[in-house]
Symmetry: C2
Subunit: 223 residues, 2 copies
């Protein structure tokens, strides 16, 4: 595991969590922070591990997943620039509840748990932002529970695509490249079913594959 101890306050500032924090405080934080680069496929933390560090994603992409004894997986979230993980271990002593794996090579800021706890104690603003991030993840998780319990695979695919889309000159477009395998794991469906559903959505004109990414028609929202 390669950790360089050369995080500048400037690098920290690219993370929303640390924006607007006074320069001298940020300097102190930077001093506890390391950089870790991971390549595609690397597992950063494993479910069941004891908690060690808090991580901030500088760039790249990672998936948070749990799997059962037969190896079937569910992807709980995808993480990208600005996201935090491992912060739950700072406030209690439970082991990691999920595995985090890089789906593309990524740069992570690493801060030891104990250091981060001090940072929280000294920076109420960061405390609030961590709470805010937890609250948002909880809302997202609740929405996922809702969709698993109430919607069929069509609806779940549609919702996922809409959630991943950004507005690009008036159209909703999913830029991020994601495999159907992984879509399936994110919505609790089989890979085959996702294939069939997406093919059908394309033939109905609700979805179009361009080199820009997946373009969604508005009416996909009503599925």
């Amino acid at each position: 595991m390669t950790i360089k101890h050369t995080i500048s306050a400037t690098a920290l500032r690219t993370i929303p969590m640390f924006q607007g924090i006074e320069a001298d405080r940020l300097e102190l934080i930077a001093r506890c922070a390391g950089l870790r680069r991971v390549s595609r496929g690397t597992t950063v933390v494993q479910a069941g591990d004891l908690i060690d560090n808090v991580y901030f994603v500088l760039n790249g992409s990672l998936k948070v997943l749990v799997s059962d004894e037969d190896g079937r997986e569910v992807i709980l979230t995808m993480l990208g620039h600005g996201d935090v993980f491992g912060e739950m271990g700072v406030v209690d002593t439970e082991p990691r509840s999920a595995t985090v794996t890089a789906v593309a090579s990524s740069d992570l800021i690493v801060i030891a748990q104990a250091d981060f706890r001090k940072i929280l104690a000294d920076n109420f603003e960061i405390c609030l932002r961590i709470m805010c991030s937890l609250a948002n993840r909880l809302r997202a998780a609740d929405r996922k529970i809702e969709s698993l319990a109430l919607m069929d695979v069509y609806g779940r695919v549609a919702r996922l695509l809409l959630d991943m889309a950004e507005t690009r000159d008036g159209r909703s477009v999913v830029r991020r490249k994601i495999s159907k395998q992984d879509i399936a794991k994110m919505i609790g469906a089989s890979r085959e079913m996702v294939s069939r559903v997406m093919k059908d959505l394309q033939s109905r004109g609700l979805l179009e594959e361009t080199d820009e990414g997946l373009v969604l028609r508005d009416s996909i929202a009503s599925l």
Copy 2:
């Protein structure tokens, strides 16, 4: 809506969140707190509402639920003594994401959002505990996602019962009274299916209805 402004620091102290807080600070907190009694069926907060208050459950029982446009419901969690809700509104400005309804008459401590934000700023300990509670709820939500995505109704019923059980002279027993309707809504299944599954579990001796409550046999865990 009946709110009495007569919360004593002693009442606050029954809530784990406030245990171990110094008496004078607790006194200040008590001064912003009101008491609200709600009877069975009362909806305390409604999804979509703007956030107003933070609530702590003194006693009773409430359910947190979301429903879709056809009125089909999912119960996200049950709340009981010591639980908090509405705290997510303190850190951001999203409207309420779920509805909270009393399933038995309950007493709630009510604190206005703005007051609670000040309390957080002055009490790092409470800040940490709120984070801890958010983290635990997130873990529980993730577990629920996992079970919805990977387990069948048998497994989900079994897991729910085990989660609700307490150990009572060597046996796992579910004391809390809960309707099969609500079990169904908690695990994303139909009421009928829950009936059938539980009947089957009883006939296989994995589950027994006594006046103590539902007694679970250990082997139910392997479903």
